[in-house]
């Protein structure tokens, strides 16, 4: 079994997450883009209060003990917070073609069936866009570099669900950058 890398296990508001990202240094591993996922199971309906510390600990056990992996995705984003799971400065495990080159962001929800443009799904989307926008600004990614997990050519699946439309997310990230970073996405580290 590969050695488990551990988790950060902290949650942030979008503003707190931006401040946190500015404290990080990508000296040993530097990602080139972001891959967006949804958890599918659990769905939003299965987590009516969003994620809490117990859920995150359970997810750690799931990736470490059930899947026998060295790491998991980098972020879990729900309708209230942005949870940092695998450290953003090390490679994670989430998408076979992209694990060595990309950050993985999991959105809580099954967006094959749950709405992504209203209610709690919209809140998840807004937090995910903030997380992607912040990381894009800090690491110098263009919004267009974003990939959905279902774009991985090695596997065929429905992640994230069909209600997550890439062009809409890319545009929302661009809008976020325009508002919060003057449209720029310069690398700062």
């Amino acid at each position: 079994m590969p050695q488990w890398k551990g988790i950060v296990g902290k949650s942030f508001s979008p503003a707190e997450f931006e401040a946190y990202c500015h404290t990080l240094k990508w000296d040993t591993w530097r990602p080139s883009f972001i891959v967006l996922h949804n958890t599918a199971s659990p769905s939003l309906a299965q987590r009516p209060g969003g994620l809490n510390e117990t859920h995150i600990k359970n997810l750690e056990a799931f990736y470490r003990d059930t899947q026998k992996w060295s790491a998991g995705p980098h972020l879990f984003v729900d309708d209230q917070k942005i949870w940092v799971f695998t450290a953003l400065t090390t490679s994670g495990v989430h998408s076979p073609s992209f694990n060595t080159t990309a950050l993985g962001i999991e959105m809580l929800g099954n967006f094959e069936t749950e709405p992504f443009d209203s209610g709690r799904g919209l809140n998840v989307r807004q937090n995910a866009v903030a997380a992607i926008g912040t990381l894009s600004a800090v690491l110098g990614f263009t919004p267009e570099s974003l990939k959905l997990h279902r774009e991985d050519p090695l596997t065929t699946h429905a992640c994230p669900g069909k209600n997550v439309r890439k062009l809409e997310v890319v545009q929302a990230v661009q809008d976020f950058l325009n508002v919060h970073h003057g449209g720029d996405h310069p690398p700062t580290h």
Partner: protein, 189 residues
């Protein structure tokens, strides 16, 4: 019925540069058939034991790692690992020829580049051949341990036929082993 099985594994440990190759069983088809005389049905035999018999149809398609994954899952993981139904291969079948079914299956793996991802994107690949008379055989490629949070593995079933002393692919099908759940559209979520 008889099978020929080869397992190719590469360790995921990043420190390992060269993967190890394990040829678990490489039996001549004739000898295998001799040993694989059907056993009389026992009132106590069940599907579970048949699934582990290497010389049965159940054994031919059985992915034991999926059983192990199901057993490791805990209720708090909120997932239901499951396997999709068999689906038609989405592309034209490759035009390959080989002197034996096993050689044809190996050529298919090489042509598709499936072994190339071992050690990075996937953990292992198992090949099996199930003869069905002198001019027909089925092969299966069991891919397991995708570093993918939705898809744990894939089986590719290959129907092969002999003509003019050479074997070729007649039909291919695939199914996926899903870590979290199978959706209504028979894709991993």
């Amino acid at each position: 019925m008889c099978t020929t099985e080869a397992i190719i594994r590469r360790p995921t440990d990043a420190s390992a540069i060269i993967g190890r190759v394990l040829l678990a069983v490489a039996v001549a088809a004739g000898a295998a058939c001799q040993r694989a005389q059907p056993q009389p049905a026992s009132p106590t035999s069940d599907a579970a034991s048949a699934a582990h018999d290497p010389f049965t149809r159940e054994g031919f398609e059985h992915q034991p790692e999926m059983d192990a994954l199901r057993q490791r899952v805990r209720p708090q993981d909120s997932v239901t690992p499951a396997t999709t139904s068999w689906q038609q291969w989405p592309e034209p079948v490759p035009e390959l020829r080989a002197p034996t079914p096993g050689a044809l299956l190996g050529a298919l793996v090489n042509q598709q580049g499936w072994a190339g991802v071992l050690g990075e994107a996937a953990w292992e690949e198992t090949l099996r051949v199930l003869p069905a008379g002198t001019n027909a055989a089925e092969g299966i490629v069991l891919q397991w341990g995708f570093m993918d949070d939705a898809v744990a593995g894939r089986d590719v079933r290959v129907l092969m036929q002999r003509q003019n002393a050479m074997w070729s692919v007649e039909r291919m099908e695939q199914r996926y082993h899903c870590r979290r759940a199978v959706g209504a559209d028979q894709r991993c979520q």
